[in-house]
C-alpha cells in the first residue's frame, strides 16, 4: 500500500519525465520504422499520382493525441504523392470535425482544393450498411459533405463515384472496433487493399488481421505515428511525444524493479521476524 507522499512522488516523477522533453526538446532516439508501419507507407508510396485513397477518420477527441498525428502524417504523404483523398468518419459524430481540420490544414499547406483534391464526407450511423452502400454508390449515401456542400457535381466524386473498382487503398485510423467491419464489408467484397492505424490499446487485437494478410499494414499508437513522421521526413507532434513516452517507459521499468525489490524485502523481513519468534 502506497503512502500518500509516495503517490505524489510517483506522479511528480512521471510529470517531470513527460514535461522535460517538451520544454527542452531533445531526441531520445530515432523512431526506426517497423515492418507493419512500412506496409502502409510503401503502399501509398507506390501509388501513382491521380489515384484515389480513402482515409477513414474513425476516432474522436478522446483518442486525438495518438491518432491525429497519424492522420496528419498519412495526409501529408498522400498529398505529396498527388493522390486524391476521400475522408470519412463512421465511428461517431464527434470525429468529423477532426477530419475537416486535418484536411484543411494539410490540404491548405500543400495547395490542395476542397472538393477537387479531397473531401470529408462526414458521419453516418450503421457502419456495415454504409460501407456496403459506399462500395456501390457514394453520392446516394452522401448527398452533401461534412461542410454541407452538395456532392452532386463535386469533381472528386465525379472521378470516384463508388469505392469498388475506383479506390486504390483504404486506411482506417480507428479508436474503436471499426477495422473489423471495414475488412468484412469494405475491403474483402470491394477488392481494394487496406491498412489500419489504431490506438496502442487495440494494437494486439488487430495484429491477427495483419498476420492473416487481411490488412497489409498496421500502425499502433503514438510510436507508429512517430515512425511514419520519420518516414516522410517531417517530424511533428508524435516524434515530440515519443521522447516523453520513451523516458516515461524507462521510468516505469525502474518503478517496477524498485517495487518488486521493496515487495520481496518486505516478504523476507516478515519471514525473518517469524523465524525469530519461533
Amino acid at each position: 500500500m502506497l503512502r500518500s507522499w509516495e503517490r505524489y512522488l510517483l506522479y511528480g516523477l512521471i510529470a517531470f519525465a513527460v514535461f522535460l522533453p517538451l520544454i527542452f526538446p531533445f531526441d531520445v532516439w530515432e523512431n526506426l520504422p517497423t515492418r507493419e508501419v512500412l506496409g502502409v507507407y510503401n503502399t501509398i508510396e507506390n501509388l501513382q499520382p491521380g489515384d484515389t485513397i480513402v482515409v477513414a477518420v474513425d476516432f474522436d477527441p478522446s483518442s486525438e493525441p495518438e491518432l491525429y498525428p497519424m492522420l496528419l502524417a498519412v495526409l501529408r504523404h498522400a498529398f505529396s504523392k498527388d493522390l486524391y483523398v476521400i475522408a470519412i468518419n463512421l465511428f461517431g459524430p464527434a470525429g468529423t470535425g477532426l477530419g475537416v481540420m486535418a484536411l484543411n490544414d494539410v490540404g491548405g499547406d500543400m495547395g490542395k482544393v476542397d472538393g477537387e483534391d479531397y473531401v470529408m464526407l462526414g458521419f453516418k450511423p450503421n457502419l456495415p450498411a454504409v460501407i456496403s452502400q459506399l462500395n456501390s454508390d457514394i453520392k446516394e449515401m452522401y448527398r452533401s459533405d461534412a461542410n454541407g456542400k452538395s456532392t452532386a457535381d463535386m469533381p472528386i466524386l465525379e472521378r470516384t463515384p463508388k469505392f469498388q473498382g475506383n479506390i486504390k487503398y483504404l486506411v482506417d485510423l480507428a479508436a474503436g472496433e471499426t477495422v473489423r467491419p471495414w475488412i468484412a464489408y469494405g475491403s474483402a467484397p470491394g477488392g481494394y487493399p487496406m491498412g489500419a492505424g489504431c490506438t496502442a490499446v487495440s494494437f494486439a487485437d488487430y495484429f491477427s488481421f495483419y498476420q492473416s494478410g487481411q490488412i497489409n499494414g498496421l500502425m499502433g499508437g503514438l510510436k507508429a505515428a512517430a515512425e511514419y513522421e520519420e518516414l516522410i521526413e517531417r517530424k511533428g507532434a508524435a516524434s515530440a511525444g515519443m521522447n516523453s513516452q520513451s523516458i516515461v517507459h524507462a521510468l516505469l521499468v525502474i518503478f517496477i524493479i524498485v517495487g518488486n525489490i521493496a515487495f520481496f524485502r518486505a516478504v523476507m523481513a516478515k519471514r525473518a521476524e517469524a523465524r525469530e519468534r519461533a
Binding site: 500518500s4 459524430p93 473489423r180 468484412a184 496502442a200 503514438l222
Partner: protein
C-alpha cells in the same frame, strides 16, 4: 481572440481535471460535469444536423439540399425507417412499449441476414486459414535461410498457441493428461497476450497524458510564456483544492479513488 480565449479555457479545464491527482475537489467536479454536459449536447446536435435532418426530414418532408438547382421530390420510402426509429421510443411509454419490438425485430433480422456471411468469412475462416504454418510460409518459399528459419519458427509458435488456447477453452473433457498439458500451455499463452495488451494500454494512457502536456506547453500560448503561467495556475488550483478539500468531509467516491 476567440481562439485565444477558447484555448485558455481548455488549458484551465485540463488543469482542473488533473487536480484529481491530489484528491476529489470542486474544481474537478465542475470540469467533469461541464465536459459530460457539453459532450452530450454536442453529439445530440450533430446527430440532428448530420443524420435526422438530411437523411429523414430532408428526404421526405422539405428540400434542404444545399444546391438549389438540384431537383427535389419526396422519397416516401424513408418513412419506413423513420417510423421504425420513432416507435423505438415507445419503450418510454409502458402502455405501448410492445410496439418497440417491431423495430427491434427488424434490426435483429436485418443484422443477422446481412452480417452472417461477411463475418464468417472475414472473422473466422480467414483467421483459421492464416493459423496454419504452411499458409504462413507461402511468402517465404525460396527465401534465404536468414528469413526462412525465423518465419518458420514464428509460424510453428503461432500454430501451437492457437491450438493450446483452444484446448484451454475446451471444457467437454477434464483437463488431464495431454489435454491438461495443452491447457496449461494455453494459460501461459493467454497470460503473455494479456501482458502485451496491458503494456500497450500503459503506452496508450501515457500518450494521452503526453497529448495534454504538449497542449499545455506548446499550444496554450504562442508567445512562449505559457508554461510558467500554467504552472502558477496549476499550483494555485491544487492549493485551493487542498484547502477546500480539507474543509469538506471525504465522500465515498473520493475514499474509493484513494
Amino acid at each position: 481572440m476567440a481562439t485565444f480565449i477558447g484555448t485558455w479555457i481548455a488549458a484551465g479545464l485540463t488543469l482542473m481535471i488533473l487536480s484529481f491527482l491530489y484528491k476529489d475537489n470542486p474544481f474537478f467536479r465542475f470540469a467533469e460535469h461541464l465536459y459530460v454536459g457539453i459532450a452530450n449536447a454536442f453529439v445530440v446536435w450533430l446527430v440532428w444536423a448530420t443524420i435526422v435532418l438530411p437523411d429523414f426530414i430532408g428526404r421526405v418532408f422539405i428540400n434542404i439540399a444545399p444546391d438549389p438547382d438540384v431537383t427535389w421530390s419526396p422519397d416516401f420510402w424513408f418513412l419506413v425507417p423513420g417510423i421504425l426509429g420513432l416507435i423505438m421510443l415507445t419503450r418510454m411509454i409502458p402502455a405501448i412499449e410492445w410496439m418497440s419490438r417491431w423495430a427491434l425485430a427488424f434490426v435483429v433480422g436485418w443484422g443477422a441476414g446481412f452480417m452472417i456471411g461477411p463475418v464468417l468469412n472475414s472473422y473466422l475462416l480467414a483467421q483459421v486459414y492464416a493459423s496454419f504454418p504452411w499458409v504462413n510460409m507461402q511468402p517465404y518459399i525460396g527465401a534465404p535461410p536468414g528469413e526462412y528459419v525465423p518465419a518458420l519458427v514464428n509460424a510453428i509458435i503461432l500454430f501451437i498457441c492457437v491450438v493450446t488456447v483452444l484446448i484451454y477453452f475446451f471444457f467437454s473433457y477434464e483437463h488431464k493428461g495431454v489435454i491438461g498439458g495443452g491447457a496449461k500451455i494455453g494459460i501461459w499463452v493467454l497470460m503473455v497476450a494479456f501482458g502485451a495488451s496491458f503494456g500497450s494500454t500503459v503506452m496508450a494512457r501515457v500518450s494521452l497524458f503526453v497529448g495534454r502536456a504538449r497542449f499545455l506547453v506548446q499550444d496554450a500560448e504562442p508567445s512562449g510564456h505559457a508554461f510558467s503561467i500554467l504552472l502558477t495556475l496549476g499550483i494555485l488550483i491544487v492549493i485551493i483544492a487542498a484547502i477546500v478539500g480539507r474543509r469538506q468531509p471525504p465522500t465515498k467516491e473520493s475514499e474509493s479513488a484513494e
